[in-house]
């Protein structure tokens, strides 16, 4: 029988410790053990991007990462975007530009766009479209998501 492991990491700035079987996927630890239900389970096959979290400054799909791989990591989920009661520029922009309809893909979209803008603060429309190409949205047709990311990029650059 597989030996359970203690795993510690920083989740949205706060240290957490969990005991998991090696086969436990990060998305399940986040949602079921740590009550962080922002990252969603969409396809479970690393296609849709609804489970995207920021792990050690990388956008990753939490359905295809083992929790035991995250020992010592720094992780940000959509729950960590808001600062001091104020929405992150991306959250505000998704609201203002109507960048969502059902909202299921939104936490993954915002978390992915967060890393995209860190790496490329002034992206072209094409940069945004290819940058979020690992995140599927079945409602919006992407137009307003792209607008939201553009709008957030401008606000962040001006701040």
């Amino acid at each position: 029988m597989a030996t359970a492991k203690k795993v510690s990491f920083k989740l949205n700035g706060k240290p957490v410790e969990v005991t998991v079987e090696p086969r436990e996927l990060l998305i399940h630890t986040l949602r079921e053990k740590l009550a962080h239900t922002g990252p969603h389970i969409g396809c479970e096959t690393s296609h849709c991007g609804a489970c995207t979290v920021d792990l050690n400054e990388m956008s990753v799909k939490a359905c295809t990462v083992l929790t035991v791989q995250c020992d010592g990591a720094e992780m940000t989920t959509v729950e960590g975007m808001e600062q001091g009661g104020a929405l992150h520029a991306l959250q505000q922009a998704f609201h203002e530009e109507h960048g969502l309809q059902c909202g299921y893909c939104t936490p993954g979209m915002i978390t992915r766009a967060y890393r995209l803008l860190k790496e490329n603060p002034n992206p072209s429309e094409q940069d945004i479209r290819s940058g979020i190409s690992g995140n599927l949205c079945r409602c919006t047709g992407y137009q307003n998501i792209v607008k939201a990311v553009q709008s957030a990029a401008k606000k962040l650059a001006a701040a």
Binding site: E21, P22, R23, T52, M58, T64, V65, V68, I132
Partner: protein, 288 residues
């Protein structure tokens, strides 16, 4: 979609990883970026008793130049390849190829070594490696050996990598100045595997082809080197007639598997078209 149980090991050095592999035996699998292995484990197509995670071994990462050779640690991610200034300058084919792999999130985790070692004919790195005449460093209990990419891929999920060995480094001779390059890939959508794809490295001498390497992704049970097309083109000018013949010769060695991406005839035709386009693009970039 939860994998069967296994024990997890995270060695800190290649030596420790090789030792672990030896102790654990055939029940152990190496974990690189995990974006081929973990999906297979979630579907229970693979149920290893032990995973040896290479993710904590610092010596397996990084891109550097040593003399006339580029050396890439096997755990270097596709994202790192895509953003490498050294590769953009010295081996731009690898940067272009990496951009066609999967999607951004998968590229942050997926590694060049995992892509190569998996032995999947649908993966992109095998064709890129063959076009670039790369060599692989394999570490095992008896030390290291270096093998050529051409000949490394034996069949479906089968390579020269032995069960007790680890691919540690990829070595690529810097292509001569003026070389043309291209990776042309047809895929239905982001994240899909290739319907067909062709990697080309090309050196011209005046109007004539001095040297060309052509490798085909997902055109058979393993990556294919289009040797007849290469031999035919050498010494010839690149024009419509020679491109057509090279594409025909590439198509003649294809044995594509029919699936949701197309039937055999369509996939073979697309292999020809990708070969034609990759050769044209490489020709447009080649100087000499």
């Amino acid at each position: 979609m939860i994998p069967a149980g296994f024990d997890y090991h995270a060695p800190r050095s290649v030596a420790d990883a090789v030792k672990l592999l030896g102790e654990l035996g055939p029940e152990a699998k190496l974990l690189a970026g995990g974006h081929s292995l973990l999906p297979m484990m979630k579907l229970r197509f693979a149920e290893p008793g032990h995973l040896v995670d290479l993710g904590r071994i610092a010596e397996l990462r990084g891109i550097s130049q040593s003399g006339n050779e580029i050396r890439i640690g096997a755990m270097t991610t596709e994202h790192e390849l895509l953003n490498s200034k050294l590769l953009a300058e010295k081996v731009p084919l690898l940067v272009e190829g990496a951009g066609w792999i999967a999607d951004p999130q998968v590229r942050y985790k997926g590694t060049i070594g995992g892509d190569i070692s998996h032995g999947d004919p649908a993966n992109d790195q095998p064709a890129l490696m063959i076009a670039l005449d790369a060599s692989f460093v394999l570490a095992g209990p008896k030390g290291e050996r270096v093998v050529k990419a051409d000949g490394y891929f034996l069949g479906l999920y089968s390579t020269q990598l032995a069960e007790d060995e680890i691919l540690t480094q990829i070595r690529i001779p810097v292509p001569p100045a003026g070389s043309g390059w291209s990776y042309h890939k047809l895929k239905r959508k982001t994240g899909d595997f290739a319907t067909a794809a062709t990697a080309v490295m090309l050196q011209m001498k005046g109007k004539q082809v001095a040297k060309v390497a052509i490798a085909l992704t997902n055109a058979g049970p393993t990556v294919l080197k289009a040797r007849d097309a290469e031999a035919y083109l050498t010494g010839k000018a690149i024009d419509d007639a020679s491109l057509n013949e090279a594409a025909r010769l590439a198509m003649s060695i294809c044995q594509p598997t029919p699936d949701q991406r197309g039937d055999e005839e369509y996939k073979r035709a697309m292999c020809g078209e990708m070969t034609r386009r990759a050769l044209q693009a490489a020709h447009a970039r080649a100087k000499g």
